[in-house]
Protein backbone atom coordinates (compact mmCIF):
# COMPACT_ATOMS: atom_id res chain seq x y z
CA UNK A 1 0.00 0.00 0.00
CA UNK A 2 3.03 2.27 0.34
CA UNK A 3 3.08 2.96 -3.37
CA UNK A 4 -0.45 4.38 -3.16
CA UNK A 5 0.44 6.66 -0.27
CA UNK A 6 3.59 7.74 -2.08
CA UNK A 7 1.46 8.31 -5.17
CA UNK A 8 -0.85 10.67 -3.28
CA UNK A 9 2.08 12.62 -1.81
CA UNK A 10 3.74 12.96 -5.20
CA UNK A 11 0.40 13.93 -6.73
CA UNK A 12 0.00 16.86 -4.33
CA UNK A 13 3.58 17.89 -5.07
CA UNK A 14 2.90 17.86 -8.83
CA UNK A 15 -0.19 20.00 -8.37
CA UNK A 16 1.51 22.33 -5.91
CA UNK A 17 4.42 22.91 -8.29
CA UNK A 18 2.11 23.43 -11.26
CA UNK A 19 3.62 20.56 -13.25
CA UNK A 20 3.34 21.69 -16.91
CA UNK A 21 2.36 18.27 -18.29
CA UNK A 22 -0.38 17.83 -15.68
CA UNK A 23 -1.74 21.33 -16.22
CA UNK A 24 -1.63 20.92 -20.01
CA UNK A 25 -3.90 17.86 -19.71
CA UNK A 26 -6.21 19.74 -17.33
CA UNK A 27 -6.42 22.71 -19.71
CA UNK A 28 -7.16 20.48 -22.69
CA UNK A 29 -9.86 18.61 -20.78
CA UNK A 30 -11.60 21.77 -19.63
CA UNK A 31 -11.45 23.32 -23.12
CA UNK A 32 -12.84 20.34 -25.06
CA UNK A 33 -15.41 19.42 -22.40
CA UNK A 34 -16.73 22.99 -22.18
CA UNK A 35 -16.87 23.37 -25.96
CA UNK A 36 -18.68 20.06 -26.47
CA UNK A 37 -21.20 20.73 -23.68
CA UNK A 38 -21.94 24.23 -25.01
CA UNK A 39 -22.46 22.80 -28.49
CA UNK A 40 -24.69 20.05 -27.09
CA UNK A 41 -26.74 22.61 -25.16
CA UNK A 42 -27.20 24.66 -28.30
CA UNK A 43 -28.54 21.66 -30.20
CA UNK A 44 -29.99 19.63 -27.34
CA UNK A 45 -32.19 22.24 -25.63
CA UNK A 46 -34.40 22.96 -28.69
CA UNK A 47 -34.46 19.23 -29.54
CA UNK A 48 -35.37 18.33 -25.96
CA UNK A 49 -38.04 21.05 -25.86
CA UNK A 50 -39.69 19.69 -29.02
CA UNK A 51 -39.45 16.13 -27.73
CA UNK A 52 -40.93 17.01 -24.35
CA UNK A 53 -43.47 19.65 -25.42
CA UNK A 54 -44.86 18.78 -28.82
CA UNK A 55 -47.00 15.86 -29.90
CA UNK A 56 -46.10 14.36 -33.26
CA UNK A 57 -46.22 10.97 -34.97
CA UNK A 58 -43.25 8.79 -34.02
CA UNK A 59 -42.54 10.75 -30.83
CA UNK A 60 -42.46 7.63 -28.67
CA UNK A 61 -40.04 5.88 -31.05
CA UNK A 62 -37.78 8.92 -31.15
CA UNK A 63 -37.84 9.16 -27.37
CA UNK A 64 -36.83 5.49 -27.09
CA UNK A 65 -34.00 6.12 -29.57
CA UNK A 66 -32.70 9.12 -27.62
CA UNK A 67 -32.92 7.17 -24.35
CA UNK A 68 -31.00 4.31 -25.99
CA UNK A 69 -28.30 6.72 -27.14
CA UNK A 70 -27.73 7.66 -23.51
CA UNK A 71 -25.80 4.43 -23.10
CA UNK A 72 -23.81 4.78 -26.32
CA UNK A 73 -20.29 3.34 -25.70
CA UNK A 74 -17.60 6.00 -26.03
CA UNK A 75 -15.35 3.67 -28.03
CA UNK A 76 -18.14 3.22 -30.55
CA UNK A 77 -18.50 7.01 -30.92
CA UNK A 78 -14.71 7.18 -31.20
CA UNK A 79 -14.77 4.57 -33.93
CA UNK A 80 -17.57 6.38 -35.76
CA UNK A 81 -15.86 9.78 -35.62
CA UNK A 82 -12.55 8.17 -36.53
CA UNK A 83 -14.15 6.62 -39.62
CA UNK A 84 -15.48 10.03 -40.70
CA UNK A 85 -12.40 12.16 -40.00
CA UNK A 86 -9.62 9.71 -40.94
CA UNK A 87 -7.95 10.34 -44.28
CA UNK A 88 -10.16 7.75 -46.02
CA UNK A 89 -13.34 9.09 -44.43
CA UNK A 90 -15.82 11.57 -45.93
CA UNK A 91 -14.39 14.40 -43.78
CA UNK A 92 -10.78 13.29 -44.21
CA UNK A 93 -9.81 16.35 -46.21
CA UNK A 94 -10.50 18.60 -43.25
CA UNK A 95 -7.56 17.07 -41.40
CA UNK A 96 -9.39 16.75 -38.11
CA UNK A 97 -7.93 13.46 -36.94
CA UNK A 98 -5.87 13.79 -33.74
CA UNK A 99 -7.04 17.36 -33.16
CA UNK A 100 -9.09 18.97 -30.44
CA UNK A 101 -12.07 19.65 -32.79
CA UNK A 102 -12.27 15.90 -33.46
CA UNK A 103 -12.56 15.26 -29.71
CA UNK A 104 -15.17 18.03 -29.47
CA UNK A 105 -17.23 16.40 -32.27
CA UNK A 106 -17.09 13.02 -30.56
CA UNK A 107 -17.91 14.41 -27.13
CA UNK A 108 -20.80 16.45 -28.56
CA UNK A 109 -22.25 13.21 -29.96
CA UNK A 110 -21.84 11.73 -26.48
CA UNK A 111 -23.41 14.67 -24.63
CA UNK A 112 -26.24 15.45 -27.06
CA UNK A 113 -28.53 12.55 -26.03
CA UNK A 114 -27.94 13.40 -22.37
CA UNK A 115 -28.97 17.04 -22.86
CA UNK A 116 -31.88 16.13 -25.17
CA UNK A 117 -33.31 13.35 -22.99
CA UNK A 118 -32.96 15.24 -19.71
CA UNK A 119 -34.33 18.48 -21.21
CA UNK A 120 -37.30 16.54 -22.63
CA UNK A 121 -37.88 14.96 -19.20
CA UNK A 122 -37.63 18.37 -17.50
CA UNK A 123 -40.12 19.90 -19.95
CA UNK A 124 -42.49 16.94 -19.60
CA UNK A 125 -42.35 17.26 -15.83
CA UNK A 126 -43.48 20.89 -15.97
CA UNK A 127 -46.94 21.68 -14.69
CA UNK A 128 -49.61 20.99 -17.33
CA UNK A 129 -51.12 24.41 -16.56
CA UNK A 130 -48.02 26.21 -17.87
CA UNK A 131 -49.01 26.07 -21.54
CA UNK A 132 -52.61 27.38 -21.06
CA UNK A 133 -51.28 30.03 -18.69
CA UNK A 134 -48.76 31.32 -21.24
CA UNK A 135 -51.37 31.24 -24.00
CA UNK A 136 -53.84 33.08 -21.76
CA UNK A 137 -51.24 35.78 -21.15
CA UNK A 138 -50.69 36.22 -24.87
CA UNK A 139 -47.34 34.46 -25.40
CA UNK A 140 -46.50 33.40 -28.95
CA UNK A 141 -44.50 30.37 -30.14
CA UNK A 142 -40.99 31.73 -29.46
CA UNK A 143 -42.04 33.25 -26.15
CA UNK A 144 -43.63 29.95 -25.08
CA UNK A 145 -40.37 28.13 -25.92
CA UNK A 146 -38.17 30.58 -24.02
CA UNK A 147 -40.46 30.74 -20.99
CA UNK A 148 -40.87 26.96 -20.89
CA UNK A 149 -37.09 26.51 -21.02
CA UNK A 150 -36.72 29.08 -18.27
CA UNK A 151 -39.33 27.30 -16.16
CA UNK A 152 -37.40 24.04 -16.66
CA UNK A 153 -34.01 25.60 -15.96
CA UNK A 154 -33.24 23.43 -12.92
CA UNK A 155 -33.70 20.31 -15.03
CA UNK A 156 -31.69 21.75 -17.92
CA UNK A 157 -28.88 22.81 -15.59
CA UNK A 158 -28.82 19.28 -14.16
CA UNK A 159 -28.65 17.97 -17.74
CA UNK A 160 -25.69 20.23 -18.47
CA UNK A 161 -23.85 19.11 -15.34
CA UNK A 162 -24.55 15.45 -16.07
CA UNK A 163 -23.32 15.89 -19.64
CA UNK A 164 -20.24 17.74 -18.42
CA UNK A 165 -19.42 14.90 -16.06
CA UNK A 166 -19.90 12.35 -18.84
CA UNK A 167 -17.66 14.08 -21.40
CA UNK A 168 -15.00 15.01 -18.89
CA UNK A 169 -14.57 11.44 -17.70
CA UNK A 170 -14.69 9.61 -21.05
CA UNK A 171 -11.55 7.97 -22.41
CA UNK A 172 -12.56 6.20 -25.62
CA UNK A 173 -13.25 9.24 -27.83
CA UNK A 174 -10.28 11.29 -26.62
CA UNK A 175 -7.95 8.35 -27.07
CA UNK A 176 -9.19 7.26 -30.51
CA UNK A 177 -9.72 10.56 -32.29
CA UNK A 178 -7.43 12.72 -30.15
CA UNK A 179 -4.48 10.39 -30.25
CA UNK A 180 -3.31 11.26 -26.68
CA UNK A 181 -0.61 13.60 -28.00
CA UNK A 182 1.34 15.22 -25.16
CA UNK A 183 0.95 19.05 -24.91
CA UNK A 184 -1.68 18.87 -27.65
CA UNK A 185 -4.58 16.43 -27.33
CA UNK A 186 -3.78 14.69 -24.08
CA UNK A 187 -6.71 14.95 -21.68
CA UNK A 188 -6.91 14.07 -18.00
CA UNK A 189 -8.42 10.66 -18.64
CA UNK A 190 -6.07 9.63 -21.47
CA UNK A 191 -3.15 10.80 -19.36
CA UNK A 192 -4.34 8.70 -16.40
CA UNK A 193 -4.66 5.65 -18.69
CA UNK A 194 -1.16 6.21 -20.08
CA UNK A 195 0.56 6.99 -16.78
CA UNK A 196 -1.07 4.03 -15.04
CA UNK A 197 0.14 1.77 -17.88
CA UNK A 198 3.65 3.08 -17.28
CA UNK A 199 3.35 2.51 -13.52
CA UNK A 200 3.41 6.29 -12.83
CA UNK A 201 0.70 6.35 -10.21
CA UNK A 202 1.53 9.81 -8.89
CA UNK A 203 0.57 11.62 -12.10
CA UNK A 204 -2.54 9.44 -12.47
CA UNK A 205 -3.66 10.15 -8.90
CA UNK A 206 -2.95 13.88 -9.30
CA UNK A 207 -5.10 14.02 -12.41
CA UNK A 208 -7.79 11.91 -10.78
CA UNK A 209 -7.91 14.33 -7.85
CA UNK A 210 -8.28 17.23 -10.27
CA UNK A 211 -11.20 15.46 -11.96
CA UNK A 212 -12.86 15.00 -8.58
CA UNK A 213 -12.22 18.64 -7.69
CA UNK A 214 -13.75 19.85 -10.95
CA UNK A 215 -16.81 17.62 -10.42
CA UNK A 216 -17.16 18.91 -6.87
CA UNK A 217 -16.80 22.52 -8.02
CA UNK A 218 -19.41 22.15 -10.75
CA UNK A 219 -21.91 20.49 -8.43
CA UNK A 220 -21.31 23.02 -5.68
CA UNK A 221 -21.91 25.87 -8.14
CA UNK A 222 -25.12 24.18 -9.31
CA UNK A 223 -26.34 23.85 -5.76
CA UNK A 224 -25.54 27.52 -5.07
CA UNK A 225 -27.35 28.61 -8.22
CA UNK A 226 -30.43 26.57 -7.31
CA UNK A 227 -30.52 28.10 -3.85
CA UNK A 228 -30.17 31.60 -5.28
CA UNK A 229 -32.93 31.09 -7.85
CA UNK A 230 -35.31 29.69 -5.25
CA UNK A 231 -34.67 32.48 -2.72
Amino acid sequence: MDFLLDGFLQAFTLLWRHDPAVFSAIGTTVRVSTASVLLSLLLGIPAGFVLGYADFPGKRGLRTLVDTLLSLPTVFIGLLVYAFVSRRGPLGELGLLFTLPAIVIGQTILALPVITALTAAAVEALDRRLRPTLTALGAGGRQILLTTVREAHFGILTAAVTAYGRVMTEVGISMMVGGNIKWHTRTITTAIALETGKGEFATGIALGLVLLAIALGVNFSLSLLKRRWQA
Partner: protein, 338 residues
Amino acid sequence: MAEELYRLENLTAAYGGRTVLHIGELVIERGAAVGFAGPNGSGKSTLLRILALMEPPTGGTFHFRETPLRHVSFSDRRRVSLLLQEPYLLKRSVFENVAYGLKVRGVRRDITRRVIESLSWVGLNKDFCRRRWHQLSGGEAQRVALAARLVLKPEVLILDEPTASVDARSAYLIREAVARARRMWGASLLIASHNHQWLEEVCERVVFLFQGRIVNAGLGNVIFGPWKRRDDGRVEKRLSADQRIVLPAPADSRQVVIIDPTHMRLSVDRPAAGETCSLAGTVLSIAHRPRADAFLVTVAVDGHHFDVRMTPAAFRHLSLWPSDPVYLSFTPHDAHWL
Protein backbone atom coordinates in the same frame (compact mmCIF):
# COMPACT_ATOMS: atom_id res chain seq x y z
CA MET B 1 -78.13 45.69 -31.40
CA ALA B 2 -74.85 44.71 -29.78
CA GLU B 3 -72.12 43.24 -31.96
CA GLU B 4 -71.68 39.49 -31.82
CA LEU B 5 -68.61 38.39 -29.90
CA TYR B 6 -69.11 34.64 -30.24
CA ARG B 7 -71.36 32.48 -32.37
CA LEU B 8 -71.35 28.74 -31.80
CA GLU B 9 -73.51 26.41 -33.86
CA ASN B 10 -73.65 22.63 -33.56
CA LEU B 11 -70.29 22.81 -31.87
CA THR B 12 -68.79 19.58 -30.55
CA ALA B 13 -65.69 18.68 -28.60
CA ALA B 14 -64.45 15.14 -28.14
CA TYR B 15 -61.63 13.49 -26.27
CA GLY B 16 -60.53 10.01 -27.25
CA GLY B 17 -63.55 9.60 -29.49
CA ARG B 18 -65.99 10.49 -26.68
CA THR B 19 -68.06 13.62 -27.24
CA VAL B 20 -67.92 15.75 -24.10
CA LEU B 21 -69.55 18.90 -25.44
CA HIS B 22 -72.38 19.51 -27.88
CA ILE B 23 -73.66 23.06 -28.11
CA GLY B 24 -76.63 23.51 -30.45
CA GLU B 25 -76.45 27.31 -30.57
CA LEU B 26 -74.84 29.90 -28.34
CA VAL B 27 -74.48 33.57 -29.21
CA ILE B 28 -72.67 35.97 -26.89
CA GLU B 29 -72.73 39.70 -27.56
CA ARG B 30 -69.79 42.01 -27.02
CA GLY B 31 -69.78 43.45 -23.51
CA ALA B 32 -72.07 40.75 -22.17
CA ALA B 33 -71.61 38.92 -18.90
CA VAL B 34 -72.58 35.28 -19.21
CA GLY B 35 -72.48 32.72 -16.43
CA PHE B 36 -72.00 29.00 -16.94
CA ALA B 37 -73.43 26.74 -14.28
CA GLY B 38 -73.74 23.00 -14.03
CA PRO B 39 -72.40 20.08 -12.04
CA ASN B 40 -68.78 18.94 -12.25
CA GLY B 41 -68.03 17.22 -15.54
CA SER B 42 -70.80 19.05 -17.37
CA GLY B 43 -68.39 20.53 -19.93
CA LYS B 44 -68.01 24.05 -18.52
CA SER B 45 -64.21 24.04 -18.55
CA THR B 46 -64.05 22.53 -22.04
CA LEU B 47 -66.43 25.19 -23.32
CA LEU B 48 -64.43 27.96 -21.64
CA ARG B 49 -61.15 26.70 -23.17
CA ILE B 50 -62.80 26.77 -26.60
CA LEU B 51 -64.17 30.27 -25.96
CA ALA B 52 -60.66 31.29 -24.83
CA LEU B 53 -59.44 30.13 -28.27
CA MET B 54 -57.10 27.71 -26.57
CA GLU B 55 -58.33 24.53 -28.15
CA PRO B 56 -60.30 24.09 -31.32
CA PRO B 57 -63.67 22.36 -31.28
CA THR B 58 -63.89 18.94 -32.90
CA GLY B 59 -66.78 19.98 -35.12
CA GLY B 60 -69.40 22.62 -35.80
CA THR B 61 -69.18 26.33 -36.36
CA PHE B 62 -67.22 28.74 -34.17
CA HIS B 63 -67.01 32.45 -34.91
CA PHE B 64 -65.15 35.00 -32.81
CA ARG B 65 -65.91 38.62 -33.67
CA GLU B 66 -67.69 37.33 -36.77
CA THR B 67 -64.52 35.58 -37.95
CA PRO B 68 -64.23 31.79 -38.31
CA LEU B 69 -61.80 30.32 -35.80
CA ARG B 70 -59.10 29.43 -38.35
CA HIS B 71 -58.96 33.05 -39.53
CA VAL B 72 -58.79 34.62 -36.08
CA SER B 73 -55.53 36.56 -35.95
CA PHE B 74 -52.94 36.33 -33.18
CA SER B 75 -53.69 39.92 -32.14
CA ASP B 76 -57.40 39.08 -31.89
CA ARG B 77 -56.56 36.01 -29.80
CA ARG B 78 -54.77 38.33 -27.39
CA ARG B 79 -58.07 40.11 -26.73
CA VAL B 80 -59.14 37.06 -24.69
CA SER B 81 -57.65 35.92 -21.40
CA LEU B 82 -58.59 32.89 -19.32
CA LEU B 83 -58.04 32.46 -15.60
CA LEU B 84 -57.82 28.82 -14.59
CA GLN B 85 -59.47 27.45 -11.46
CA GLU B 86 -56.07 26.52 -10.04
CA PRO B 87 -53.69 29.23 -11.15
CA TYR B 88 -50.15 28.59 -12.31
CA LEU B 89 -47.59 31.19 -11.40
CA LEU B 90 -44.24 31.36 -13.16
CA LYS B 91 -41.26 30.60 -10.94
CA ARG B 92 -40.53 34.29 -10.57
CA SER B 93 -41.53 37.20 -8.39
CA VAL B 94 -45.09 38.51 -8.19
CA PHE B 95 -44.02 41.58 -10.18
CA GLU B 96 -42.59 39.47 -13.01
CA ASN B 97 -45.69 37.29 -13.06
CA VAL B 98 -48.02 40.26 -13.41
CA ALA B 99 -45.75 42.03 -15.90
CA TYR B 100 -45.28 38.92 -18.09
CA GLY B 101 -48.27 39.56 -20.38
CA LEU B 102 -47.22 43.18 -20.92
CA LYS B 103 -43.66 42.17 -21.76
CA VAL B 104 -44.67 39.54 -24.32
CA ARG B 105 -46.74 42.28 -25.97
CA GLY B 106 -43.65 44.44 -26.19
CA VAL B 107 -44.88 46.97 -23.63
CA ARG B 108 -41.87 48.60 -22.00
CA ARG B 109 -43.24 51.88 -20.61
CA ASP B 110 -45.14 52.37 -17.42
CA ILE B 111 -44.96 48.70 -16.48
CA THR B 112 -44.31 49.28 -12.77
CA ARG B 113 -47.25 51.63 -12.36
CA ARG B 114 -49.59 49.27 -14.23
CA VAL B 115 -48.47 46.24 -12.23
CA ILE B 116 -48.93 48.04 -8.90
CA GLU B 117 -52.33 49.33 -10.04
CA SER B 118 -53.60 45.90 -11.07
CA LEU B 119 -52.32 44.36 -7.84
CA SER B 120 -54.25 47.01 -5.91
CA TRP B 121 -57.43 45.97 -7.75
CA VAL B 122 -57.12 42.50 -6.20
CA GLY B 123 -56.29 43.87 -2.73
CA LEU B 124 -52.51 43.36 -2.82
CA ASN B 125 -50.17 46.22 -2.04
CA LYS B 126 -46.87 46.95 -3.79
CA ASP B 127 -44.91 45.12 -1.07
CA PHE B 128 -46.12 41.93 -2.72
CA CYS B 129 -44.16 42.72 -5.88
CA ARG B 130 -40.96 41.22 -4.52
CA ARG B 131 -42.54 38.04 -3.16
CA ARG B 132 -41.67 34.80 -4.91
CA TRP B 133 -44.29 32.48 -6.32
CA HIS B 134 -43.88 30.00 -3.45
CA GLN B 135 -44.36 32.63 -0.77
CA LEU B 136 -48.07 33.12 -1.49
CA SER B 137 -51.17 31.51 -0.03
CA GLY B 138 -53.68 29.88 -2.40
CA GLY B 139 -55.94 32.94 -2.32
CA GLU B 140 -53.04 35.34 -2.90
CA ALA B 141 -51.76 33.23 -5.80
CA GLN B 142 -55.23 33.31 -7.40
CA ARG B 143 -55.38 37.09 -6.96
CA VAL B 144 -51.91 37.54 -8.47
CA ALA B 145 -53.01 35.38 -11.41
CA LEU B 146 -56.11 37.56 -11.82
CA ALA B 147 -53.98 40.73 -11.61
CA ALA B 148 -51.78 39.30 -14.40
CA ARG B 149 -54.92 39.19 -16.59
CA LEU B 150 -56.40 42.50 -15.47
CA VAL B 151 -53.17 44.41 -16.23
CA LEU B 152 -53.74 43.46 -19.89
CA LYS B 153 -57.27 44.94 -19.82
CA PRO B 154 -58.59 42.08 -21.95
CA GLU B 155 -61.68 42.61 -24.02
CA VAL B 156 -62.92 39.18 -22.93
CA LEU B 157 -62.16 37.90 -19.44
CA ILE B 158 -62.93 34.22 -18.96
CA LEU B 159 -62.94 32.84 -15.44
CA ASP B 160 -63.12 29.14 -14.66
CA GLU B 161 -64.31 28.68 -11.09
CA PRO B 162 -62.13 31.57 -9.86
CA THR B 163 -63.37 31.49 -6.29
CA ALA B 164 -63.76 27.74 -5.85
CA SER B 165 -60.65 27.08 -3.82
CA VAL B 166 -59.87 30.38 -2.13
CA ASP B 167 -60.65 31.91 1.26
CA ALA B 168 -63.72 34.12 1.75
CA ARG B 169 -61.73 37.41 1.63
CA SER B 170 -59.93 36.43 -1.56
CA ALA B 171 -63.23 35.35 -3.10
CA TYR B 172 -64.74 38.74 -2.25
CA LEU B 173 -61.74 40.64 -3.68
CA ILE B 174 -61.81 38.53 -6.86
CA ARG B 175 -65.52 39.26 -7.35
CA GLU B 176 -64.87 42.98 -6.81
CA ALA B 177 -61.96 43.01 -9.27
CA VAL B 178 -64.03 41.22 -11.90
CA ALA B 179 -66.83 43.76 -11.49
CA ARG B 180 -64.22 46.53 -11.87
CA ALA B 181 -63.03 45.04 -15.18
CA ARG B 182 -66.54 45.42 -16.52
CA ARG B 183 -67.02 48.89 -15.11
CA MET B 184 -63.65 50.28 -16.20
CA TRP B 185 -63.17 49.00 -19.73
CA GLY B 186 -66.39 47.15 -20.48
CA ALA B 187 -64.84 43.70 -20.51
CA SER B 188 -67.06 40.85 -21.61
CA LEU B 189 -67.22 38.33 -18.77
CA LEU B 190 -67.64 34.61 -19.19
CA ILE B 191 -67.73 32.96 -15.77
CA ALA B 192 -68.12 29.35 -14.75
CA SER B 193 -68.94 28.99 -11.09
CA HIS B 194 -70.85 26.95 -8.57
CA ASN B 195 -71.59 30.20 -6.77
CA HIS B 196 -75.01 30.72 -8.36
CA GLN B 197 -75.70 33.87 -6.40
CA TRP B 198 -72.59 35.54 -7.77
CA LEU B 199 -73.53 34.49 -11.30
CA GLU B 200 -77.00 35.90 -10.77
CA GLU B 201 -75.57 39.18 -9.49
CA VAL B 202 -72.95 39.71 -12.18
CA CYS B 203 -74.34 38.07 -15.31
CA GLU B 204 -77.21 39.10 -17.53
CA ARG B 205 -77.83 35.46 -18.25
CA VAL B 206 -76.75 32.09 -17.00
CA VAL B 207 -76.38 29.04 -19.19
CA PHE B 208 -76.85 25.72 -17.48
CA LEU B 209 -74.83 22.81 -18.80
CA PHE B 210 -75.33 19.15 -18.15
CA GLN B 211 -73.41 16.31 -19.77
CA GLY B 212 -71.96 18.70 -22.33
CA ARG B 213 -75.28 20.20 -23.42
CA ILE B 214 -77.11 23.39 -22.61
CA VAL B 215 -80.16 22.17 -20.76
CA ASN B 216 -81.57 25.36 -19.32
CA ALA B 217 -81.47 29.03 -20.19
CA GLY B 218 -80.84 29.98 -16.59
CA LEU B 219 -79.90 28.25 -13.39
CA GLY B 220 -81.20 24.79 -12.68
CA ASN B 221 -81.65 22.62 -9.65
CA VAL B 222 -80.22 19.24 -10.52
CA ILE B 223 -81.31 16.23 -8.53
CA PHE B 224 -79.21 13.13 -9.11
CA GLY B 225 -80.45 9.57 -8.57
CA PRO B 226 -80.65 6.85 -7.59
CA TRP B 227 -84.44 6.94 -7.89
CA LYS B 228 -86.35 4.04 -6.40
CA ARG B 229 -89.40 2.73 -8.27
CA ARG B 230 -92.58 2.63 -6.13
CA ASP B 231 -95.56 0.32 -6.25
CA ASP B 232 -97.75 3.12 -7.64
CA GLY B 233 -95.55 3.42 -10.74
CA ARG B 234 -93.84 6.62 -9.60
CA VAL B 235 -90.25 6.99 -8.48
CA GLU B 236 -88.87 8.49 -5.30
CA LYS B 237 -85.61 9.82 -3.98
CA ARG B 238 -85.19 9.72 -0.25
CA LEU B 239 -83.42 12.81 1.10
CA SER B 240 -83.69 11.80 4.76
CA ALA B 241 -85.72 9.50 7.00
CA ASP B 242 -88.87 11.63 6.62
CA GLN B 243 -88.32 13.63 3.41
CA ARG B 244 -88.54 12.34 -0.10
CA ILE B 245 -89.17 13.61 -3.62
CA VAL B 246 -91.80 11.69 -5.54
CA LEU B 247 -92.08 12.11 -9.31
CA PRO B 248 -93.76 10.39 -12.23
CA ALA B 249 -91.41 7.73 -13.54
CA PRO B 250 -89.39 8.62 -16.64
CA ALA B 251 -90.05 6.75 -19.86
CA ASP B 252 -86.55 5.30 -19.81
CA SER B 253 -83.82 4.71 -17.27
CA ARG B 254 -82.85 8.37 -16.79
CA GLN B 255 -81.67 9.20 -13.29
CA VAL B 256 -81.22 12.97 -13.23
CA VAL B 257 -83.88 15.65 -12.84
CA ILE B 258 -83.64 19.41 -13.36
CA ILE B 259 -86.06 21.95 -11.98
CA ASP B 260 -85.97 25.62 -12.96
CA PRO B 261 -85.63 27.92 -9.91
CA THR B 262 -88.52 30.04 -11.22
CA HIS B 263 -90.79 27.00 -10.87
CA MET B 264 -90.03 26.52 -7.22
CA ARG B 265 -91.98 28.26 -4.49
CA LEU B 266 -91.31 29.03 -0.86
CA SER B 267 -93.76 29.27 2.01
CA VAL B 268 -93.57 29.60 5.74
CA ASP B 269 -96.42 27.15 6.30
CA ARG B 270 -96.44 23.59 5.01
CA PRO B 271 -98.37 23.47 1.70
CA ALA B 272 -101.50 21.34 1.59
CA ALA B 273 -100.84 17.76 0.52
CA GLY B 274 -101.76 17.05 -3.06
CA GLU B 275 -100.03 17.13 -6.37
CA THR B 276 -97.35 19.44 -4.99
CA CYS B 277 -94.06 18.02 -3.79
CA SER B 278 -92.97 19.88 -0.66
CA LEU B 279 -89.77 19.73 1.38
CA ALA B 280 -88.86 21.34 4.71
CA GLY B 281 -85.61 23.28 4.64
CA THR B 282 -83.68 26.28 5.88
CA VAL B 283 -82.83 29.51 4.10
CA LEU B 284 -79.11 29.42 3.43
CA SER B 285 -78.54 32.69 1.60
CA ILE B 286 -80.36 35.44 -0.26
CA ALA B 287 -79.14 37.45 -3.25
CA HIS B 288 -80.75 40.29 -5.08
CA ARG B 289 -80.52 40.25 -8.85
CA PRO B 290 -80.89 43.93 -9.72
CA ARG B 291 -81.13 43.58 -13.51
CA ALA B 292 -84.03 41.13 -13.36
CA ASP B 293 -85.43 42.68 -10.19
CA ALA B 294 -85.62 39.27 -8.58
CA PHE B 295 -84.31 37.52 -5.52
CA LEU B 296 -82.44 34.24 -5.53
CA VAL B 297 -82.94 32.32 -2.33
CA THR B 298 -80.85 29.24 -1.68
CA VAL B 299 -82.51 26.69 0.58
CA ALA B 300 -80.77 23.76 2.27
CA VAL B 301 -82.82 20.58 2.46
CA ASP B 302 -81.07 17.71 4.23
CA GLY B 303 -77.71 18.56 2.71
CA HIS B 304 -79.13 19.36 -0.75
CA HIS B 305 -79.15 22.95 -1.97
CA PHE B 306 -82.01 24.35 -4.05
CA ASP B 307 -82.19 27.76 -5.73
CA VAL B 308 -85.54 29.51 -5.77
CA ARG B 309 -86.12 32.67 -7.80
CA MET B 310 -88.70 35.02 -6.32
CA THR B 311 -90.26 38.28 -7.30
CA PRO B 312 -89.58 41.21 -4.93
CA ALA B 313 -93.25 41.19 -3.93
CA ALA B 314 -93.22 37.49 -3.02
CA PHE B 315 -89.94 37.91 -1.20
CA ARG B 316 -91.17 40.88 0.82
CA HIS B 317 -94.37 39.03 1.66
CA LEU B 318 -92.40 36.22 3.30
CA SER B 319 -89.74 38.57 4.76
CA LEU B 320 -87.16 35.84 4.79
CA TRP B 321 -83.82 35.84 6.57
CA PRO B 322 -80.99 33.34 6.40
CA SER B 323 -81.54 30.34 8.72
CA ASP B 324 -85.34 30.80 8.64
CA PRO B 325 -87.25 27.51 8.32
CA VAL B 326 -89.23 27.35 5.07
CA TYR B 327 -91.14 24.92 2.90
CA LEU B 328 -90.00 24.44 -0.66
CA SER B 329 -92.55 23.19 -3.14
CA PHE B 330 -92.88 22.41 -6.82
CA THR B 331 -95.24 20.47 -9.01
CA PRO B 332 -93.85 17.20 -10.40
CA HIS B 333 -94.60 18.46 -13.93
CA ASP B 334 -91.94 21.14 -13.50
CA ALA B 335 -89.30 18.47 -13.03
CA HIS B 336 -87.64 17.45 -16.28
CA TRP B 337 -85.68 14.24 -16.72
CA LEU B 338 -82.27 14.66 -18.30
